[in-house]
């Protein structure tokens, strides 16, 4: 018999789970009903034979899935997983993060590159808008590196803007491994500009995604990704967000799961901070530094956090020259363009440039696009 001579394909890398996730119209809910805690290999056999329980999906889908399953080349799928060095887990596997398994809206199949996330380490999701200000980006990097250095798993979405900055900060700290949760297939890096970040995260940490291989970054996949972010985190920190947007959706998912939400305060004139300021007015705790987040996690005391902030900001103002002191006084009125600074200081342009450069080196002055401000 021809079937008997073909060696049965192994369960290596969870190839059956990957195949199930690739079925047409396999929504997380249908997959959840189909899989439960069952062995994906056995479920796959049933799908191939068209012997699923009636309640899994409508009748027409049974036939579609059966035909699709018979046309699937598991061997090819396995070699693709191998070339990506990706693993696929289901709740039946010990490697499936249990915060996902027991989530109110669980992901039945997860694709993973890199190590298994440490289930005991506290995790903080840093999220925010893709169109952030340079300030937002640097705050996200600072939080990412500070938290990673403190041994916290930094979770984010690998998008442009805040997400990417948080990852880059955490990777630069060389601390706890990071987790990136993506919306497209693991073999479809998106956005293309963050390709290096995908590989860096997969090399030292974990890259997670729910979408089957080859899945394009379609819009509907991102809200689903956001719920995974909320499910994996103990605290969600929003760095910059508009009033409506993906980050606010992550916040809703976090609230559904009773995960603490913190927001970084921003200027009232900054539209990219409208969402975070709204969260603060609704009672979210402000996250002004890494220590604020550590306090929220119960890992540091409020007093220690305040002390650390005070230490950071103490700089000997007497060591500055008179023009630098004058510039700092002028900047107390708020951010201005360099042109206005020159006009107000009534000093020659090169002198102001040199003084501003010195202040920037001391960390007393920051640039935000066209303007300079006190750091």
């Amino acid at each position: 018999m021809a079937e008997a001579t073909a060696a049965p394909i192994g369960r290596y890398r969870g190839v059956h789970a990957a195949a199930l996730a690739s079925l047409p119209r396999a929504t997380p809910r249908r997959l959840e009903r189909l899989l439960g805690r069952r062995d994906p290999a056995k479920v796959w056999e049933k799908v191939e034979r068209g012997e699923m329980a009636k309640w899994v999906a409508a009748d027409d889908l049974h036939d579609v899935w059966r035909d699709h399953a018979r046309g699937t080349d598991l061997e090819a799928l396995r070699s693709r997983l191998e070339s990506l060095d990706a693993w696929v887990t289901t709740p039946a596997s010990a490697q499936h993060p249990f915060t996902i398994t027991y989530d109110i809206d669980p992901a039945p199949v997860l694709f993973r590159r890199g190590r298994m996330p440490d289930p005991t380490a506290p995790a903080v999701a840093i999220v925010g808008t893709r169109r952030c200000t340079p300030t937002g980006r640097s705050v996200a990097m600072e939080l990412g590196s500070g938290l990673a250095a403190a041994g916290i798993t930094v979770v984010s979405g690998l998008a442009l803007g805040i997400d990417g900055a948080a990852h880059r900060g955490a990777l630069a700290a060389d601390g706890a491994p990071v987790v990136g949760v993506v919306g497209s297939g693991l073999d479809v890096p998106y956005p293309r500009g963050n390709l290096d970040l995908w590989d860096a995260v997969a090399d030292t940490g974990t890259l997670l995604g729910e979408a089957p291989l080859g899945a394009e970054p379609e819009g509907w996949r991102f809200p689903a990704r956001n719920r995974l972010l909320a499910a994996l985190a103990d605290v969600v920190v929003v760095v910059e967000s508009k009033r409506a947007g993906g980050s606010m959706h992550t916040v809703e998912e976090a609230i559904r799961r009773e995960v603490t939400v913190m927001a970084v305060p921003g200027s009232v004139r900054n539209p990219a901070a409208a969402g975070t300021n709204l969260l603060l007015s609704e009672g979210c705790a402000p996250a002004c530094s890494t220590d604020d987040v550590l306090v929220a996690l119960g890992l540091a005391t409020a007093g220690a956090a305040r002390g650390a902030v005070a230490r950071d900001r103490r700089i000997d103002l007497d060591s500055l020259d008179s023009l630098q002191q004058r510039l700092l006084e002028l900047l107390d009125d708020g951010p201005v363009s360099l042109d206005v600074l020159v006009l107000r200081a009534a000093a020659p342009v090169p002198d102001v440039l040199v003084a501003a450069d010195g202040l920037e080196h001391l960390g007393l002055l920051a640039r935000d696009g066209s303007r300079v401000m006190r750091a």
Binding site: P134, G161, V342, L343, P350, D351, L353, G369, S370
Partner: protein, 503 residues
């Protein structure tokens, strides 16, 4: 019977002597031109015939062959019309061969026998060292710049015939037209505020450093750039001749006499590669980069130029000339210009400030249009913002161009004492001699290199800018840390998000 008439044709921006050989022989009446004429040159057949007939002269009903020697140089344009007509008259034995001995002939013909000016009259006349040169009356002022008393202006073919046949005296040269008052250049005093951009402009003019202004629409980038020419010194006599030669070859309107002020060229961003670098099939016409030689090339909306066009600017930016290769040969055009570019920080224009509506990808794509090697050649990159009227009310009136021009001229004089035209041309060895780094300045540069803020190429360029900054200040020998820091502050880079960062 055979006749030879001397003329010239343009190769690039230089004149190349041409012998027009006309052979009139018995046989079937006909007229052919050989010796690589282009289309407009070949059409001379019809113009010359009509002009001779209109001038009440005899058209020989014989076999006429015209050879343009040297035969391997492509000839273009209608500038050889007059020489061909004279050749036919001599070969047809209506004029004596001696009458055109040691005489250059240059001019287009109208069907009525009038003689018209030719583009490139200056380099063409320059190429003819004969004891007299016949040109169109309207070319006489230009021709006299290089040929003084040898120029014989004529208005019509008949006038020329009569003069050569000794039937009439040579026509009087047209009375020198009243020199038009020099066009007033816009003044820097018109611009209030913008201290940073004004200072960058002054550094650019003084040291010949290329400048990029980045800012939202309405910030005054174009206004500023147009005022750069006003602070540049007059062209030196050699530069003057070169610029006039290029403008003449490019067919640009010339003032009466030499071009003495630095030209300002502002090609539109839809300009083609050939329009910018020069080109054309037979004769490589000088492009905008050559027309701007000695002056300012202003590229407004830099981000909208085709990336290939911008990358083609790298050679002129580096070497001060451009080599245009065509299937029929290669020409070198001068292209020594000061590049001033302006661009919005992002497609919507608000980049880096509140209210930018660009998608992050679109923004990065917009800035990526400028290649790294191109941006690396821009020494001064500064941000220009819309001034806040409240800040302008109680400031002192702006410095007028004349005052800035004086400082610029002084820095340029110092550069010439160092043996270069302007500081941006100083080599590493020159800088060691004329701009040694102080101990603190060395430390600043070492730190910038270690931080990756500066490349090796950038290092020399920062030192030349620092040299200019010191020259603008007090002209001391050593470069101080403040000069180097100020130079570094002017060398910002686009950060991909609508802002500028050190780099």
């Amino acid at each position: 019977m055979l006749a030879t008439v001397r003329s010239a044709t343009l190769v690039g921006v230089w004149g190349q002597p041409v012998s027009v050989e006309v052979h009139v022989a018995d046989g079937l009446p006909g007229f052919s031109i050989v010796g690589l004429p282009d289309a407009s040159c070949r059409e001379a057949r019809d113009r010359v015939r009509a002009a001779i007939v209109s001038s009440k002269l005899k058209w020989p009903q014989k076999r006429i062959t015209v050879n343009l020697a040297p035969s391997d140089v492509p000839k273009s344009g209608a500038g050889l019309d007059l020489a061909i007509a004279v050749g036919i008259l001599v070969a047809g034995e209506q004029l004596k061969a001696e009458s055109i001995a040691d005489t250059g002939v240059l001019g287009q013909l109208g069907l009525d026998g009038s003689v018209r000016p030719v583009p490139g009259a200056l380099p063409l006349v320059d190429a003819m060292d004969h004891s007299s040169v016949i040109v169109a009356a309207r070319d006489s002022t230009v021709a006299e710049l290089v040929a003084r008393d040898r120029v014989r202006p004529v208005g019509t073919l008949r006038q020329l015939f009569d003069a050569l046949a000794d039937a009439a005296p040579w026509p009087e040269p047209p009375a020198a037209r009243q020199a038009a008052p020099p066009e007033s250049e816009p003044d820097l005093a018109d611009i209030a505020g913008q201290p940073l951009a004004r200072w960058a402009l002054e550094v650019a003019a003084a040291g010949g450093h290329h400048l990029l202004l980045v800012g939202p629409p309405g910030a005054g980038k174009t206004m500023l750039a147009r005022r750069l020419v006003g602070v540049l010194p007059d062209l030196s006599p050699e530069e003057s001749l070169e610029v006039t030669r290029v403008h003449s070859a490019a067919g640009l309107a010339l003032p009466d006499g030499l071009v003495t002020r630095p030209p300002f060229r502002a090609p539109h961003h839809s300009s083609s590669m050939a329009a910018i670098v020069g080109g054309g099939t037979a004769r490589a016409r000088p492009g905008e980069v050559s027309a701007a030689t000695g002056g300012v090339l202003f590229l407004d909306e830099l981000g909208e130029f085709a990336p290939s066009v911008l990358d083609a600017l790298r050679q002129p930016l580096e070497e001060g000339m451009i080599r245009v290769a065509r299937s029929q040969g290669m020409v070198e055009h001068p292209a020594r210009f000061l590049l001033v570019a302006a661009m919005n920080p992002c497609p919507c224009g608000a980049g880096g400030t509140v209210g930018c509506r660009c998608a992050p990808g679109a923004l990065a794509r917009y800035q990526r249009r400028l290649s790294g090697p191109f941006v690396d050649r821009l020494d001064l990159v500064v941000r220009v913002d819309r001034p806040d009227p409240a800040d302008l009310l109680d400031t002192a009136p702006s410095t007028p161009s004349a005052e800035v021009a004086e400082r610029v001229a002084q820095v340029r004089r110092r550069a010439q004492e160092r043996g270069v035209n302007c500081n941006s041309e100083l080599t590493g060895a020159d800088l060691d001699l004329h701009g040694p780094l102080g101990r603190a300045a060395t430390e600043v540069l070492r730190a910038a290199l270690a931080e990756g803020r500066l490349s090796a190429r950038g290092l020399r360029r920062v030192r030349t800018v620092a040299r200019t900054i010191r020259d603008l200040d007090d002209g001391g020998d050593e470069l101080r840390s403040a000069d180097v820091l100020a130079a570094l502050s002017l060398r910002m880079r686009l950060d991909g998000a609508g802002g500028l960062v050190h780099g």
